[in-house]
């Protein structure tokens, strides 16, 4: 049973190596990288410059410029690591211009992870050498260090609610000069964005009990990791995921004290806050006796699966390993467990599936979402060309590079249109918003959905009722 296990862990939480030791000492600097949070030289050296990544990189496709390619970025990191080049503004720029979509890693013969190397370059770039514009720094700290780590603040703060509700990530994405806007102009922008974003429902976290009981014959106990964006922007999707897990025979634990996964922080180069959040989450979830920790946010899933690396030296590796072995994307989990389909209602619709980068590339999960689609009666999948090519959302990428984000989205929408499917479906809130925006902007008939919304429609009953 899923009663909370109180203090069953008697071993020390932390290994003897403390945080200080995880950081290189001054004398061991890696070339021109700063001592703190330098990328791994091993990882950089693994690139053999074959160039097989080039045709798969969205930013190289935009620029046809080697330094904006995965190979170019790895080689720039190598030049900095070997002291041949400073951590210059241009190197830093390429760190942030990388979409972190990981498409290069999927095709790399040597398994080089350029995305994570660039996350380190970002962390290295947020220092006095590369100062942020005035105002931006306060905003970044406010969001990353004050708001995101705390669900209550996010939910209760009208500012944050409005930000996410009316404008959301799209608002950030489209308005790189947002801090210069007057309140009036801000309102206008908000109006423009209105309708492109989902109708706001109250955040789900405080509407669901901490334990939702399995329906039918119980198959196990899972935790649902409720992501910040899912909770605030797409609570109905989260509800569908919880309902599906319960209907499929799993007790669902939704720990109230779980915090942000840390992905936005890694993206912005704030590794320290990400580590604090990670430690908190590992402790929170390991208190429960779980078969799996399930997420319906590909970005969260990718970050959670990387905790082992992020928290290396900070927490006991057995805990990290145990935590890692439990994390599963919802499609991965449901297909792995085997869908009980006998009671499902048909959902008559042709859909095309967009692979989220953080699912297909970062987690290597491409088959399971398709198998899940196949398991839902009525759903018919029409594959699009380049289904695993980025949609151009990329967390804060669109904010930093609004024009380029539009171009990447154009390529995606052209492929969506060609399928003539009723809807485009994905498994990540960032992609969901971007695709919804793409659909509206192009004036298409099609709709954008998170796959779990459609799975939710096929359920015979709902364990968690809608709000109100």
């Amino acid at each position: 049973m899923s009663e909370e296990k109180q203090s069953v862990r008697s071993e020390p939480r932390y290994t003897k190596r403390d945080a200080e030791q995880a950081i290189r000492k001054e004398g061991e600097r890696l070339g021109n990288f700063l001592p703190e949070d330098a990328p791994s030289y091993e990882d950089i050296l693994q690139c053999m410059r074959c160039g097989f990544c080039l045709p798969h990189c969205p930013t190289y496709a935009l620029t046809n410029r080697e330094r904006s390619s995965p190979r170019g970025r790895a080689q720039l990191a190598k030049a900095v690591a070997q002291g041949e080049m400073e951590l210059s503004d241009n190197v830093s720029f390429e760190g942030f211009f990388c979409l972190d979509c990981r498409a290069c890693t999927t095709v790399c013969p040597a398994g080089v992870k350029v995305g994570p190397i660039m996350e380190h370059v970002r962390a290295q770039s947020r220092n006095e050498v590369h100062p942020l514009p005035p105002g931006w720094r306060q905003f970044r700290e406010f969001l990353l260090e004050y708001m995101l780590p705390n669900h209550d603040r996010l939910e209760n703060s009208m500012l944050a609610a409005r930000l996410y509700q009316r404008l959301g990530v799209q608002w950030m994405v489209r308005n790189s000069h947002l801090l210069e806007l007057t309140p009036g102009a801000l309102g206008e922008t908000a109006e423009k964005m209105d309708g492109m974003l989902p109708k706001l429902e109250p955040p789900l976290r405080n509407r669901v009990p901490e334990l939702v009981k399995a329906r039918g014959e119980k198959r196990g106990t899972v935790a649902y990791f409720i992501g910040c964006i899912m909770n605030l922007m797409y609570p109905e999707v989260s509800r569908a995921t919880i309902n599906t897990l319960a209907q499929q025979g799993f007790d669902v634990v939704i720990p109230k004290s779980a915090k942000c996964c840390g992905a936005p922080h890694l993206t912005e180069g704030d590794r320290e806050t990400a580590r604090k959040l990670g430690e908190h989450n590992v402790e929170t979830f390991l208190r429960w006796d779980l078969d799996a920790i399930v997420t319906d946010c590909a970005g969260c899933g990718a970050a959670l699966k990387d905790y082992e690396e992020l928290l290396e030296g900070r927490m006991d590796e057995r805990y990290l390993h145990e935590f890692r072995s439990r994390i599963q994307d919802v499609s991965e989990f449901l297909v792995g467990a085997g869908m009980r389909t006998e009671d499902l209602k048909p959902v008559e619709m042709t859909i095309t599936y967009h692979d989220p980068c953080h699912l297909a590339h970062a987690q290597g999960i491409a088959k399971e979402p398709r198998q899940l689609i196949e398991a839902i009666p009525g759903l018919e999948l029409v594959e699009m060309f380049e289904s695993n090519w980025c949609c151009g959302s990329g967390a804060n990428w669109g904010l930093l590079h609004p024009e380029e984000s539009e171009q990447v989205l154009d390529r995606k929408m052209a492929n969506v249109v060609k399928t003539e499917a009723d809807a485009v479906v994905t498994l990540n809130p960032g992609c969901h918003m971007q695709l919804a925006w793409g659909v509206r902007r192009s004036g298409l008939e099609q709709e954008a959905y998170h796959l779990m919304e459609l799975v939710g429609r096929s359920l015979p009953e709902e364990a968690v009722p809608p709000a109100g």
Binding site: G51, L54, M85
Partner: protein, 471 residues
């Protein structure tokens, strides 16, 4: 480290080619200083992206006026350093000349700009029911111009030949600024020296190719895939020779050694037998009846020479499964260690077994980790040293290993490069193969095309040619 060129010179380039087509920041110069060749790199002074033959001619004029070397470059996937700006200067990246100009179904030709990606050309002609066979390992990335410059090969070499066998006509800009046209769509052409054949495999040292016309063929209608495992690699080599001796030319005849098999198994666990010393992947294609007949004949040969396991794909899907090991070979080896040095030794088919033995002996002698795979049907092996560039002592042993291996390769009538080219990486080896007389003739040819020695210098042979030619 920024460009040595004057601001005025850069401005001139930008004015003529457009700002977007000229790069000179140090991060750009650094990232156009390498290709896929381990250990080697250079540093250009400026990088340009010409979009027309006229712009190429302008770039040539610019290099001449500023006394700069000029190196043409495609996607930079070469494995001998052919596109590295060895002496700095101008790098002309041809990837923005990437139009497929014509697919001529009557003459069975395609005419393209040099920056077209190899697989894009293959895909475009396949859409018209035609076939462009050369398929170098980097075909998704490499350009036709680069393939022509290096005379790239691939997996289909044995039956279908290499890039040279498909180039019918070329247009190029020479270092005096003139435009050269050589060859044409006529199947037969014996008018004068074949400049076309000099430019193919010329490694960008004679002229800058601006247009390529290739011949196309009808695609095979059927294909059959099989795999055979061998407890010793000599028997695998013997199987290769005997298949061909049985008057069968398979489309694919690839070999993987024990180290490669085990690296693949470590990486993807697809159930390869770890104890086996050799794996042969064989594909026969053509008319369905002919394919069945050939497959049966190959099966007989494999049994006769004593293959330990033979698996024949009954469906296309099974065929895909059987090719998985070969497709994964490079990835698997590349993950073993940070630095992967992939070589290109090629011998007459009958010497495969002796060459495998020599690789084994030298691997032991120099205490290295080497995985070997390659195009067995062509005698083209890729012994791949798995090493670490930070270990300079081991890197020395790697070079000694290859040097001694090439002694064997040359002694049995092989070549120091089957498909990667000489570039910077094998300058020393070329002379061992063709002798100083051969090098002298090459220098004279080079001088005839490029008297200043400005075009892609530092490739193929050392540049002590000027005095010699003038004397």
């Amino acid at each position: 480290m920024p460009s040595k060129l004057s601001a005025q010179a850069i401005q001139d380039l930008e004015q003529r080619l457009g700002k977007e087509q000229v790069l000179h920041e140090k991060e750009d110069l650094y990232t156009y200083g390498y290709d896929a060749t381990p250990e080697l790199s250079g540093l250009p002074d400026v990088v340009v992206f010409p979009r027309t033959a006229e712009e190429v001619a302008y770039v040539v004029e610019f290099a001449n006026e500023n006394g700069l070397p000029l190196s043409p470059r495609g996607s930079g996937t070469g494995l001998s350093g052919g596109s590295i700006p060895a002496e700095g200067g101008v790098v002309a990246v041809m990837t923005r000349m990437n139009k497929i100009l014509e697919i001529d179904e009557e003459n069975l030709t395609a005419t393209v700009e040099p920056g077209v990606i190899t697989l894009d050309l293959a895909g475009a002609v396949a859409a018209r029911g035609l076939f462009y066979p050369p398929d170098p390992g980097s075909q998704k990335v490499s350009t036709i111009g680069g393939n022509v410059a290096e005379n790239a090969g691939g997996l289909r070499g044995l039956k279908y030949g290499v890039t040279r066998d498909y180039v019918m006509a070329l247009e190029a800009v020479l270092m005096d600024g003139s435009h050269l046209m050589t060859g044409g769509k006529a199947v037969k052409d014996v008018a004068g020296y074949s400049f076309r054949d000099l430019l193919v495999g010329g490694e960008g040292t004679l002229g800058i190719v601006t247009q390529v016309t290739v011949s196309l063929i009808p695609p095979p209608k059927a294909k059959k895939t099989m795999v055979a495992y061998f407890k010793d690699v000599a028997t695998a080599g013997q199987a290769v020779s005997e298949i061909v001796a049985a008057k069968i030319i398979p489309a694919t005849l690839e070999i993987l050694d024990n180290k490669t098999i085990n690296s693949i198994e470590d990486y993807v666990s697809i159930g390869l037998p770890r104890e086996m010393q050799g794996l042969l992947l064989i594909e026969t294609d053509g008319h369905p009846a002919e394919v069945e007949e050939e497959a049966a004949e190959i099966h007989k040969v494999l049994e006769r020479v004593g293959a330990d396991v033979i698996r024949v794909a009954q469906t296309a899907e099974e065929g895909e499964d059987l090719t998985a090991a070969r497709r994964t070979a490079l990835s698997a080896l590349a993950r073993v260690s940070p630095t992967t040095i992939l070589e290109d030794s090629t011998v007459p088919r009958s010497e495969l077994a002796s060459t495998f033995n020599e690789i084994a002996r030298l691997t032991k002698k120099y205490d290295l980790t080497v995985g070997t795979f390659g195009h067995a049907g062509d005698g083209n092996l890729h012994p791949t040293a798995l090493t670490d560039e930070r270990n300079s002592e081991e890197i020395k042993r790697v070079h000694a290993f290859f040097s001694e291996l090439y002694d064997h390769v040359l002694a049995v009538g092989g070549t120091v490069s089957g498909e990667h080219g000489i570039g910077m990486a094998k300058i020393g080896y070329l002379e061992r193969q063709i002798g100083s007389g051969g090098i002298k003739v090459m220098r004279r040819i080079k001088h005839a095309f490029d008297p200043e020695g400005r075009l892609n210098p530092g490739k193929m042979f050392t540049p002590e040619l000027q005095e010699e030619v003038r004397a």
